[in-house]
Symmetry: C2
Subunit: 298 residues, 2 copies
Amino acid sequence: MSIRLSSKEDYESLIDKYDTWLFDCDGVLWQGSRLIDGVLEVLHLLRSKKKKVCFVTNNATNSRKTYKKKFDKLGIEAHVDEIYGSAFATAVYLSSILKLPKDKKVFVIGMEGFEEELRDEGISYIGGTDPENQTLEPFSLKDFVLDESVGAVVCGLDFGINYTKLSKAFQYLKRVPGCEFICTNADSTYPSEFGLLPGAGSVSAPLRYATGREPIVVGKPNSTMLDCIKAKVAFDPSRTIMVGDRLNTDIEFGKAGGLSTLLVMSGITQESDITGPNASTTIPDYVAPSVGEFRIVL
Amino acid sequence: MSIRLSSKEDYESLIDKYDTWLFDCDGVLWQGSRLIDGVLEVLHLLRSKKKKVCFVTNNATNSRKTYKKKFDKLGIEAHVDEIYGSAFATAVYLSSILKLPKDKKVFVIGMEGFEEELRDEGISYIGGTDPENQTLEPFSLKDFVLDESVGAVVCGLDFGINYTKLSKAFQYLKRVPGCEFICTNADSTYPSEFGLLPGAGSVSAPLRYATGREPIVVGKPNSTMLDCIKAKVAFDPSRTIMVGDRLNTDIEFGKAGGLSTLLVMSGITQESDITGPNASTTIPDYVAPSVGEFRIVL
C-alpha cells in the first residue's frame, strides 16, 4: 500500500528522509508548456535544504544544453549537469559502461541533440543527420559500403526516420560481428504539444522486428539509466527518491534501482490506475497530488 | 515425413494428382533476376495438361500489371489474373471480404503499385504517394485534420516510409472508432537484388508497437490470402498444391488452407532446415530440388 501524503508533517518527514531527489519532467514539473503550480517554490525549498536535485527524462531528441532552455523558459533553476536525458545517458553508457574502443564508431538513428551528446562524450558516429541519409528515395545496397568500424547501432526518437536509415542500421546489425544494438528508450508514444505521436520505441521497432534482436534499452524504467547517473554523480540509494507521474517508467525505474518512489497525480496516471479492480501491480511508496503540495511546509 | 520426389513416376503421379498449382515466385521461378533452369518448360507442360496455374507472392510494392512485366522479361507466360500479390489481395480483402462501405476510405502506407490495386477494386484512399506526405520535416498535430471517413489503415512495404506517414496512420488507428488495421504481409525482410532489406512487417512495426494493436495480415502464411484467391477463382483444395521455397510462409500457407505442399530447395530453405536436430516442425508433403526437375517427365 502506498502512503498518501497529506499533512504538513507527512511532507516534512519526506524531505528529511531523502538527500537526493530525482524528478521526471513532463507531468511532474510542467504539463506541455505550462509550469505546474508551486514547482518553483518547492525546488527552491529543496535546494535551500542542500538536497541534491536531478532531472531524469527519456526525451532523446534534445541534448541537455537544449533541454535546459525549456527549464530557463519556465523559470526553473537547473544546471546542465543535473539533467539526465536518455540521449546523454546513452552516450555515457557507450563511453563509461560499454567502454566503446576509440577506433570504433556508432551508427546513429536520431537527431541533432543526440549527436551533440555523443560528441561531448567523445563518441565517433556516422548516420544521424548526415544529409546523405535525409532522403525518401528507395535505398539500394548496390553502392553501399559497410563501415566495419561500426561497433554499435544507437537509436533514439528521430522525426526524420526513413527507409535508408533503417536499411543501413539493419546492415550493421546483421553483418558486422559483435555490433551492439542500443536504444535510448522504449517509449511507444511521445507526448507532443498537441497530442501523442509515435515514440522512440516505435522508431526502433522496425530494427527489432527485422533483426529479431532485443536491444539494450537505456532509458526509464531500465536500470541502465541509473547506472549512467551513478557514473557521473554519487548518491545513497536508501536516501534517494524518484518522483514521477508514470507507473511503468518512473516508478518502475525507481524500484528497479532500489530507490524510494513518489507518484504525483499531476500527469498521466489516474486514480483508477492505483486503486480499485484495475489498479496496476506497480505500487509507489508515496502518492501526492503534485510536487506543488510540498509548499505546505513553507 | 515428406515424400522426396526423384523418379519420373514420382513427378508424373504428382502432376496427375493436382489440378491447381499455386507457385511462389522468388526462389521458385527465379532467383533475383535469373530464371531457374527448366521453369519455362515445366510451366508449359502444366498448361498443356490443362492445369490451372496461379502465382502467389507477398510482394506488395508492385501491382499485378507491373509484376507481370517481370514475368514478361524472363519469358514466363503469365496472365494478370493469375498473379496474386499481397497488395491485390489486400484490395480484394477490403472490397469482397471486409466489404468496406463506399463512403469509407483507407489511409495507405505503401507505394504506387498498392494504390493501383486499390483503385482497380474501387477502394478510395488517402495517404500513400500523396506529395503532402513525402516529407522528412517533423510532423505536428497542430494543423492536422482527422478525416473521420477513414475506415482502415492499410500498410505495405513502403520505401518512402517517414514520420509523417506513421504519425497520421497512428492518429487514425487511435482516434477513429472502428478503424481497421490491415497489413499486406508480415515479412520481416525483403529480398532485394543485392541483399536483404527491411520488409513490410518491419514497416508496420512502429504502428503495431505504438498502438499495441495486432493487425489483420493478408499475405502468406495467413489464410486471408487464400480467401482472396477464392473470392476470384474456383478450385478444389484437395486437388491443389502450393509450391514454395519458404517453410514459414509458403508451406505454412498451403497447410493452413488445407492444400498439399511442395517445398523446392532452389530458394532460401537449406537441407538442415528439414532434416536433422534443427529441422523445422513445418513438414511439407513433398520435397524436390527445384521446379525444373519436373522436366524428367518430358
